[in-house]
Structure formats: C-alpha cells, structure tokens
Symmetry: C2
Subunit: 355 residues, 2 copies
Amino acid sequence: MTNPLPTGATIGILGGGQLGRMLSVAAARLGLRTHIYEPGSNPPAADVANAVTTAAYDDTAALTAFAQSVDLVTYEFENIPTEALDVIEAITPIHPNRRALGTSQDRLVEKTFLQDIGLTVAPFADVTDAASLDAAVASVGTPAILKTRRFGYDGKGQSRLKTPEDAATALADMAGAPAVLEGFVNFSIEISIIAARNPQGEIACYDPGENIHRDGILHTTTVPAKLPPRLRTDAVLLAAKILNTLDYVGVMGVELFVTPQGLIVNEIAPRVHNSGHWTQNGCAVDQFEQHIRAIAGWPLGDGTRYADVVMENLIGDDVDAIPALAKEPNCAIHLYGKVETKAGRKMGHVNRVTR
Amino acid sequence: MTNPLPTGATIGILGGGQLGRMLSVAAARLGLRTHIYEPGSNPPAADVANAVTTAAYDDTAALTAFAQSVDLVTYEFENIPTEALDVIEAITPIHPNRRALGTSQDRLVEKTFLQDIGLTVAPFADVTDAASLDAAVASVGTPAILKTRRFGYDGKGQSRLKTPEDAATALADMAGAPAVLEGFVNFSIEISIIAARNPQGEIACYDPGENIHRDGILHTTTVPAKLPPRLRTDAVLLAAKILNTLDYVGVMGVELFVTPQGLIVNEIAPRVHNSGHWTQNGCAVDQFEQHIRAIAGWPLGDGTRYADVVMENLIGDDVDAIPALAKEPNCAIHLYGKVETKAGRKMGHVNRVTR
C-alpha cells in the first residue's frame, strides 16, 4: 500500500463497539467509508457506518464477502480468531499486521517480545499447571497476579496471590487456561502513550496521559501527566522501538508504569485505546483519525496537544449523570448509543477541557 | 417537548448534504440516531446516518413513513416545499419552527421582520416588475443588488445594478421571479454570529467570526473577529432578540455587516451555518451538537471558545490540496465524502487551530 486511500474508499472494521464507532466517524472526516463486521446485533458502530455485516467470526462466506467489499481491514479489538484473519488476509490487507496482533493476543508472547527488544517488564513466568505455578511463585515472588495468556480485558481472567498459599485458588480461577504469573510493580503512576506509525515509517506520539483505574477498569486519563521530561522522552522512544520492530501500521496504546527505576511496560494494545480518548478534544487530529490516517497511508497528524484534558469514562450507571454533565462548561460528551445500561459496561466518556 | 430526547431516539433530517452529515455525527455523540430524507442519490450524510430515505419532497407516502419513524424532524436547508412540511408536521414536531423557516425563505419577509423588531437592515424595496424596479431604484439608489425573494444561495439568483441603466438586464436575470432590491452597504467587515436557543428558552452564542467570500461563496471564517467589544455585545443581543421573537429552537446563523454606524443584519439562516464550522475545533460543544442539543431539549453548551481558528472552505479543485493540508500541523480536515469534484462545489473544509 503506497498510495493513500482516496475519497470514497472503504475501510472494513472488525468489531462494532465504541472504538469502531469512533473510527467510523474519523474515517468520514477524511472522506472514507466504513463497513463494520460484528456478530452482535445493534452494534454502536452501525449508527455511523456505511455498511454493517452481522455474522459470526467463523462464517467464511460472510468474511469473504466482507473482505471483498472493502479496500483494507482493521480492527477494534485484538481477540479475533486466527482463522477469520486467514480468510480476510487472503483477499485484502489487514492493518495493524498479524505479527502485532499475535504478539498482543498472548501475554507470554508479548512480555517475551518486549523483553527481547530491551524494554523493562514486570517479572513474569509461564504457568500451565500447579508445578509450573510453584516454580513461577519461587522466581517471581508474591504478591503477584496470575493472568490468562489470552482473552483478558478490563481486569477479567485475573487472580491475585497475596501469598504462595493463594496458588491453588488462583490456578483454579484460570479454569485450565494457560497463564502467566506477573510480579507486582511498585509504581508511582500508570501512564499510557498513544503512538502511530504509517506505511512510510513516519511515527507520531501523543503526550502521555496519566491513568487511574477503578475496579480494574480505566476511570480517568489526565493530560498532561505528572511526568519528568526525561521519562516523557523515554516513553516516546520505547513506543517508537515497539512500532518499528513490529513494522507496525496504525495506532497502538502502550501502558507504562512509572517507577523510581524508570518506565516498565505493562501491556500493549494494537488499536486505538481508551486512554487516548482525550485526544478528541485536545488535538487537531485525534487518535481515531490518526489510526485511519496511518492505515490509509496518509501523513500522520503530529500529535500536538493544544489543551489540558481530563477524560472520564462513564461506566454503567455513571451515564445517569448526563443531564448534569451536559450543563458543565467545557465538558465534551461522547456517548456510544447503547440503550441498555449494565454494570461495568462502558456507556460513554466525557472530556473535560481544563485549560 | 419538555423531556430531553433519550439515548436511542431518532432525529429526522431533511437534506443529506454536508450539514446533515455533520449533524448526524453530532447526534451520535449524544447517543441519538438520525434518519436522512434526501431526493438525491449517495448523499454525504448517508455515510454516518442510521437510515436514509431516498425520495422526492412531493412523495407523500415517503414523507409520512419518514415522519412516523422519527421522534422529531429538523433540516439542513431552508428551501423545503411547504407541502412537505405540512405532511411531516401533522405527524411529528419540526424544529426550528415553521415561522422561522417561512421568515428566512423569503428575503422580503425576512427584511421586513428584522426591521419590524427594530434591527437595522440595508435599504430594500419589493420588486415585481419594471415599474416597481424603477420605484425601488429611486428609493434605494445605486449601486444596488437585485435578488430573488426565494431560493437564492451562495450568490445565485442575484444581479448587480451599478447604475439605473442596468435595471432592465437585472430584471431579466430574475426570469420573472419576485425580487428585492437591496442597497449596497459600506461595511468594513462581514461577521456572523451563531446563536442557539432551546425549548426552555436558554440562549447561547459563539464568538462572532469574520467572513471573507470569494466569488459569492464563503472562503474563510476567522475567530476572533477584529471587532470592538461593544459590537460583540450588540451582535449577541440582536441574535437573542431574533431567536426570542421567533420562539426559535435550534441553531441560527446571523450574517452581519460591521459599519461605522453599527451592525447591519444581512441575512439569517435557520440552521447550522458554514461560518460556524470553526466551532468543531474551537469549542467543547460545536454548532452541530449545539443544534442537536437545542432541538432535543438538552442543556446548551455555553459556547466558550478555547482556541483561535481559521476555517477555510475547500471549493471544487481546492480539495486537491488535501495531501499537503494533511501534513500541516494543527490543521483539522473535514471532508464530505463527495467523490465527484465540481467547480463551485463545497468538498470539505479545514480548521486551522492558530493558537
């Protein structure tokens, strides 16, 4: 892909949630169309997309027709079955590439990759059974956290070990799934950096945001983060290293722990990221448009931030505060059009422009 | 309409051009859906709307089905046939209301209304034939401009009279349509103010923007306008007077001439306005969301501007500059997805965030 996608071209998006929704809107701003592929009914992205295919990820005929109808494919989540990707990739390009996806789909592969390219990660060890968990506890120590290698998000598929005595319970929580034991990191704050790379090899990063979680789900991201300039540079450089090594095309979210010894990489997400939503009201080119620009072969936005922003997620009943939030000056509302409110469900977010 | 529209409700929009497109995106941000009614094929708004009806404005069955499928109706242009509005209004509310629409659809009615509420307009006179044109020239003087009372936009349906001798040619240009002769105004700059009012009677105005036209089409809008604070206050007050008098619900664009004697109202548009596009990158709540908030009965954004912006329209071949514009820092691109470029066609705009 050397020529930028022209007006009227169509981007296929796997997944019809809020990230796909905001990607669709960004594509429209660039004169591009979107086609959503989503197994669930009434996906949030359908409200703002040109076309929607409602089909399962093992429906080869639907995947084939979808891939044939678009100019390239991207995705809003990383847990896409390999077989679905094989069907699509035989027909049309997928960005970010399979290596990036494969790396981030599996915590063990991801941590090994990050370590291999010289970045610092929390101590970790492979866990497949009681014996390997005992060995992992011996090497990593406690407190620690046992996580499934695949399909975890928003704190799901995780179990804490305060002491080695918690091992049996934690292993049972994994329900037989391959897992990784991670040592706890003594960090002052968690930040994330949203980075992008296009096929020409240009890289652009946004200012790191400072993340606060509640109940394992992102609660707020604040820019600027309280971060020494040296660590800001470190964050940019390590993100660039990850993207270049993976020959990455698109936006990536990189979560980092800030510690007295420097930055520790927590995890990477090969997609637009909740902690980058602040860019919608702080930058001329937000992370969604940046992702579309990257995969469409356009020049990247430079990531300049022209406002201070606090992004706050609206989880479950939080959305009941909308009438009050709508009255707040400088509070930009972003709802996802989900009619049914559920506990723990991301219903929307607000960006408070604070300066 | 006293209760705000809830998530999942649907707004019908008459007209599927770029204004309908940007209204749809704004509605989505508030969790609302849109249904576009547009006679032409492949309307720009269809890319980001939930539903599209392709039918003529005299198709009563289609209008009825459309009106029944939505919670309320708004529009992106003012030249909607009265009969179509009658069909819709029998079923569901239309905002802004019929009086606002009727006033702005007819230059003579508009100017008379503005004058009647105490605002200053250019000298004008009704023209139906050669005799009334002669009388109009005698009262208004030359140079002057003869405009059709209805269906004019972007400089169309207009003819200039440098001297009284141009009268016959100008009248012929009207092709028998009822017209208004307007005296020229000696103004320093043209500004416009984008104002909004909701059913609760709240009013909010954005900072006036300074407009420059080329070939009768808006070229740039710059905020802040070079305007003394006193005139800024005058602009806000006169906009509020117009909205309150019309019991208006929605966003209105008011074009004003700045003269040594104060502000002269050029024209009003009962909809989001090209000169308000800068708000997309200068405010937490842009004019499109403000319009949706108003008609949906939500609280209004306060209109605070947090950046200096220059909006530039991309007309016809201007859009060929997109590859260069995409490389410009702090240049936000907004394309309308129109595949065919035509001379004079609005293809998109950019908002340059200048501070």
